[in-house]
Subunit: 273 residues, 2 copies
């Protein structure tokens, strides 16, 4: 998917909501466990109920790997279902991969070509040649960790490297990499006060923003400093939407939560017009 | 496996060789492609032929994920084969994972419990709560990226954070994490001159050392500065061993290469006695 397609979908839906498909069998409604593939059944119901309010879906691969081969099959079915039924939706494999050049190429091929995701998250620690193999794919997007939403973000990411924090060095350095126009960045909502500085370095790039809701980040604060003229944000919510109810009405409850977020987003977009 | 078991195996075999099982179907002998599971057939032959010279095997998960479900099945069969037939061998899932706390727990469970690896490689960028879930497993080992063997290592890892390079901050900070005695570190052989400084920070920890052979690192140089009284090194070779021949004699050729490395290692161990 091109960035222009993503922007047009955001404007059409008046939403920049990404739904995190982090499926834990201990948290899905019990009646689903009788199904042949409860994870896929759960995802399908959530997607069908929420797709008019969301522009992106983001399965975190850890939740699928945790169920071994069965989990990978569920992931494959989920991405195929999205691509077949909702090709206008932006898909994110939240995999946080990164390895030396020829090995990163393997990951890129697996997520972009074989599974058919529009984007994949990557870790920056190994530098340029660990990320460029992902950037080489046309109309695919590489979402690099910059400033994450967790406590541990303060261990290294915010440490000063010369005059700038490490995450700013990561942003700045990555702009020079080949095909860097295919880069987006992960910036946690729990660090909303950092968005103004971040926009000075990458004024136009899309940011994938976890941490709104369950982790305590504020949508309003994120938008205040993070919004660009093309929106430039994908705000993720996982638990707050997909586990809104543990009963047979789980999909309906998820739709209501997604709709609430979409309405909040619409109000913010209206406000800046 | 306990660290004591690993050390005893190293001393018994007079080897600290780790064989990297990075299987690429374009590089394995052609006659194997007729087999039902060529990747597993290849691994099994390599393991059977080289196990007396090696103390560890390290499949890089990217090479398996690249083949989708089939690849995961081959990985599962490989680790099961190792655990059933050579339980004295130390196994490493080279996965370079890392995510926020509850998500890292998923990865840890997948690799340690479900697949039954002795260790897994992780990335440090997200800090303490992304690594501690791995450290919580008893008699399992977490091998954190410190200074990698690729060019991109100079993008961030060697940048000065205050008075110390980032990779040194990573080493120093991680020592304070809960169960840090379960940590080992990745340090590339291509940066042998850094080992002396590294040993000042972590005098006893095991280091997993890629980059000898194909990538140009020298075993002698690595050992000069990296060896400890309990050896403290696992030196990895992948392509140099597993692709020593593309013919029917591939396993025999791999054994010869592994034996050559083991003899070099024995000579070095004899030399420091």
């Amino acid at each position: 998917m091109t960035t222009a397609n993503l922007i047009s979908e955001i404007k059409k839906k008046q939403s920049f909501l990404c739904v995190g498909l982090d499926v834990d069998l201990e948290k899905v409604p019990e009646f689903l466990l009788k199904e042949e593939d409860p994870i896929f059944s759960f995802n399908k119901a959530i997607i069908d109920a929420t797709h008019q309010y969301a522009v992106a879906y983001k399965p975190n691969t850890a939740f699928y790997e945790a169920y071994g081969l069965k989990g990978w099959r569920s992931l494959e079915k989920t991405i195929n279902y999205l691509n077949e039924n909702y090709p206008e939706i932006f898909t994110i494999a939240d995999a946080k991969r990164g390895d030396i050049g020829n090995t990163s190429s393997r990951y890129a091929k697996a997520f972009f070509e074989d599974l058919g995701f529009d984007s994949v998250t990557v870790a920056p620690y190994m530098g340029k040649d660990s990320v460029e193999p992902f950037l080489a794919f046309e109309n695919k997007h590489t979402i690099m960790l910059a400033l994450t939403s967790n406590e541990g973000a303060f261990d290294f990411q915010t440490k000063l490297v010369g005059e700038k924090e490490l995450y700013k060095q990561v942003l700045k350095t990555s702009k020079k990499w080949r095909n860097s126009e295919n880069l987006m960045y992960v910036v946690g909502a729990t660090k909303a006060e950092f968005f103004a500085d971040i926009r000075k370095i990458i004024p136009h790039s899309f940011l994938l923003v976890p941490g709104v809701g369950a982790q305590g980040g504020s949508l309003k604060e994120v938008c205040k400093y993070g919004l660009t003229e093309n929106v430039g944000l994908l705000v993720n919510s996982s638990r707050g939407i997909i586990y809104a109810s543990k009963d047979t009405d789980f999909a309906k409850a998820a739709a209501q939560e997604a709709k609430n977020m979409q309405l909040d987003m619409k109000a913010i977009l209206d406000g800046v017009r």
